[in-house]
C-alpha cells in the first residue's frame, strides 16, 4: 500500500481546467435555474388552473426522476429531433431544468412571504401589475431566497459531476483522464473528493456573506 500524492502535481493544470468548466457550467445553470424557477413560480401562483397544473407536474417530475436519466434523455434524445447540441450546452440545459424545479419552490415561498400590505401600498399608488412584480415582488423575494438558492447551487456543483458521463471534461471527467494516465485512482479520487468538499464550503461562505450584504438594509436596526 503506497500513497503518493505527488504524482498529481504535473496534472494540476489540467484538473484546474476541468474545475473551470465545472464552475462555468454551474454558474450558467444557476442563472438558468433562477429564470426557469421564476417563471414556474409565477405559473404556480397564477389564476389559471391549467398553468398551475403544468407547473406542478413539471416540478413533480423533475424532482422525482434521477438526474442521470434526465441527462441521458436530453443528450440522446435531442439529436433525434434534429437538435445537435454539444455536451456542455446539453449539460447546462439539463442542470437548469432540474435546478429550476427546486428553485421554483424557493422563489414561490419567497413571493408568498411578502407582506400583503406592501403590495397593497404599491397597487393603491397606481403601479401596474408588471411594475409591481419586477420592482417590488421579485427583488424582495430574491433577497430572502439567497440562502436556499445557495443550497441549490451547492447541489448543482455536486450534480455536475454526472456530466462526466456525457463525455464532458469538467472536474470529474478530467480526473478520470488523469487516472488513466497515472494509474493512481485512489490518490486522484481522494483529492477530488476533498476539492469538491472545499469548493462547496467556499460557496456556502460566499452565500452567507451575500445574504448578509443584500439583507443588511432590510434587517431591523439594533436600536
Amino acid at each position: 500500500m503506497r500513497l503518493d500524492l505527488s504524482i498529481l502535481l504535473p496534472h494540476l493544470g489540467f484538473l484546474a481546467q476541468g474545475a473551470l468548466l465545472t464552475a462555468e457550467a454551474c454558474v450558467l445553470a444557476l442563472v438558468g435555474s433562477v429564470i426557469m424557477g421564476a417563471f414556474v413560480a409565477i405559473a404556480r401562483t397564477s389564476s389559471s388552473a391549467a398553468l398551475r397544473r403544468i407547473a406542478f407536474v413539471y416540478v413533480d417530475i423533475f424532482r422525482n426522476v434521477p438526474f442521470i436519466v434526465q441527462l441521458f434523455f436530453f443528450y440522446y434524445g435531442l439529436p433525434e429531433i434534429g437538435l445537435y447540441i454539444d455536451a456542455f450546452t446539453t449539460g447546462v440545459i439539463a442542470l437548469s431544468i432540474a435546478g429550476g424545479a427546486y428553485a421554483s419552490d424557493i422563489i414561490r415561498a419567497g413571493i408568498l412571504a411578502i407582506d400583503q400590505g406592501i403590495i397593497e401600498a404599491a397597487e393603491v399608488s397606481g403601479l401596474s401589475r408588471r411594475v409591481i412584480f419586477t420592482r417590488i415582488v421579485l427583488p424582495i423575494a430574491l433577497r430572502t431566497s439567497v440562502r436556499p438558492l445557495g443550497s441549490v447551487l451547492i447541489n448543482m456543483i455536486l450534480t455536475s459531476s454526472i456530466l462526466s458521463t456525457i463525455t464532458l471534461n469538467e472536474l470529474t471527467g478530467s480526473a478520470q483522464i488523469v487516472v488513466s494516465q497515472t494509474y493512481r485512482p485512489f490518490e486522484v479520487y481522494v483529492v477530488l473528493l476533498v476539492v469538491y468538499a472545499a469548493l462547496t464550503y467556499l460557496v456556502s461562505l460566499a452565500i452567507a456573506i451575500l445574504h448578509r450584504r443584500l439583507n443588511r438594509d432590510m434587517m431591523e436596526a439594533v436600536a
Binding site: M1, R2, L3, I61, N64, V65, P66, F67, I68, V69, Q70, F72, F73, Y76, G77, E80, I154, L158, T159, S160, S161, I162, S164, T165, T172, A175, Q176, V179, Y183, R184, P185, F186, E187, V188, Y189, V190, L192, L193, V194, Y196, A197, T200, Y201
Partner: protein, 223 residues
C-alpha cells in the same frame, strides 16, 4: 442478428433493473440507518476525538459527489489495498456510507431539537445518559426525524441510479443497453424515468403513511 425493436422481454429487463435499484436502496438505507444512528450516539456521548472524526467524515461525504465516492471505492480501493471489489460491493459500501452521513446529521439535529429541560429533569431523577437517550430522547427524536428522513430516502433512491456508471446492471444500465439497441432514446428514457418516478412516489407514499401512523400513536401531540 440485431433486434432493433422492442420486445415484451424488454419489460422484464426494465423490471429487473428497477429491482436491482430497489434492492440496493433497501440494503444501503438499512445499513446507513444503523451506522448513522450509531454515529449520532457517539456524538451524544461526546466521545473525544471519535466525535470530531465522525463529523469530519460525514461532512466530507455530504459535500462531495456520490459519483466520485463510487469511483473512489470501486477504482481506488483495489489499487491501494490490492483487493478485488465487485461493482455491487463497491456500490453497497459507498451508498451505505453516504446514507449514513445524512442520517447522522438528521439524527443529531432531531436529538438536539428536544428541549434541554427534559434532559435535565431526567438526569436529576437519576437516569443514566443511556436511559435518557432510550426513553426520553429517542422516541421524540424519531417522531421529529421522520419527515426529513422520508425526503432523504426518496433522494437516495434516485442516487442509486449512479451505480450504473461503475457497471452495475440497474435500471439506468438497462436503459443504456436498450438505447444502444433500439436507437429510440425518447421511448427508452421516458420509460426508465417513469419507473424511477413510480418507485419514488411509492417510497414517499409509504413514508407518509408510516408518519401518520406514528403521529396517531404519539402521545406528545401538541406538547
Amino acid at each position: 442478428m440485431r433486434f432493433a425493436d422492442f420486445t415484451a422481454f424488454d419489460l422484464v429487463l426494465l423490471a429487473q433493473g428497477l429491482g436491482v435499484n430497489i434492492a440496493l436502496f433497501l440494503a444501503t438505507s438499512l445499513i446507513g440507518l444503523v451506522i448513522g444512528i450509531a454515529w449520532a450516539i457517539v456524538r451524544y456521548y461526546r466521545v473525544p476525538v471519535l466525535s470530531e472524526v465522525i463529523t469530519f467524515v460525514s461532512e466530507l461525504l455530504k459535500n462531495s459527489p456520490v459519483l466520485v465516492q463510487l469511483f473512489l471505492v470501486f477504482f481506488g480501493l483495489p489499487g491501494l489495498f490490492h483487493i478485488r471489489v465487485t461493482p455491487v460491493t463497491a456500490a453497497t459500501i459507498t451508498l451505505s456510507a453516504n446514507t449514513a452521513a445524512f442520517i447522522y446529521v438528521i439524527a443529531v439535529s432531531a436529538i438536539e431539537s428536544i428541549g434541554r429541560d427534559q434532559i435535565e429533569a431526567a438526569r436529576v431523577f437519576g437516569l443514566t445518559r443511556w436511559q435518557v437517550l432510550r426513553h426520553v430522547l429517542a422516541p421524540q427524536a424519531a417522531a421529529f426525524a421522520v419527515g426529513p428522513l422520508i425526503a432523504l430516502l426518496v433522494n437516495q433512491l434516485q442516487v442509486t441510479s449512479l451505480i450504473s456508471v461503475i457497471g452495475v446492471v440497474d435500471l439506468t444500465k438497462i436503459g443504456n443497453i436498450l438505447n444502444m439497441r433500439t436507437l429510440k432514446p425518447f421511448v427508452v428514457w421516458t420509460a426508465v424515468g417513469l419507473l424511477y418516478y413510480a418507485a419514488a412516489k411509492l417510497v414517499a407514499l409509504l413514508g407518509t403513511r408510516f408518519e401518520n401512523r406514528l403521529r396517531a400513536h404519539s402521545a406528545w401531540r401538541g406538547l
